[in-house]
Symmetry: C2
Subunit: 80 residues, 2 copies
């Protein structure tokens, strides 16, 4: 089974990396660019076919390691 | 208009960050985890309503700044 995890910075938390990219894009002539927010995209393969168990495991991984839940949100999808 | 950009490391390129996360997950008891690949997830707002123009602009941004096309792939979606 495959899990796709999206980790994003919470809406009310500053994203300096996004701000830097926005500035660079403006400098390069892409003046139409407004807000830029940068997060992480993770693909994990799991050696299990039990969907409920996979969901529970991925949730635990996100809470414990993949996301810093103080400043980040996460969501995930399971495939296969 | 909003653009969601996914930047991922090409299949045949090593992902040391992914390997480190995989090792950490194993150490934490998540033995079911196989391959881990880590990419970037970007949300951009664009001050345009012209979908074709937005598509062209986001493609140019990816090629020139957001992705290193030697070792990374990208794909994007437009919303709104």
């Amino acid at each position: 089974m495959k899990a796709i995890v999206y980790v994003t910075i919470k809406e009310n938390v500053l994203d300096p990396q996004g701000t830097a990219v926005q500035g660079a894009l403006h400098t390069m002539g892409f003046g139409d660019v407004g807000k830029v927010r940068i997060g992480k995209y993770l693909e994990l393969t799991l050696d299990t076919t039990d969907r409920a168990q996979a969901e529970e495991q991925v949730k635990a991984m996100c809470e414990k390691l993949l996301a810093n839940t103080v400043v980040e949100d996460y969501r995930f999808e399971l495939e296969g």
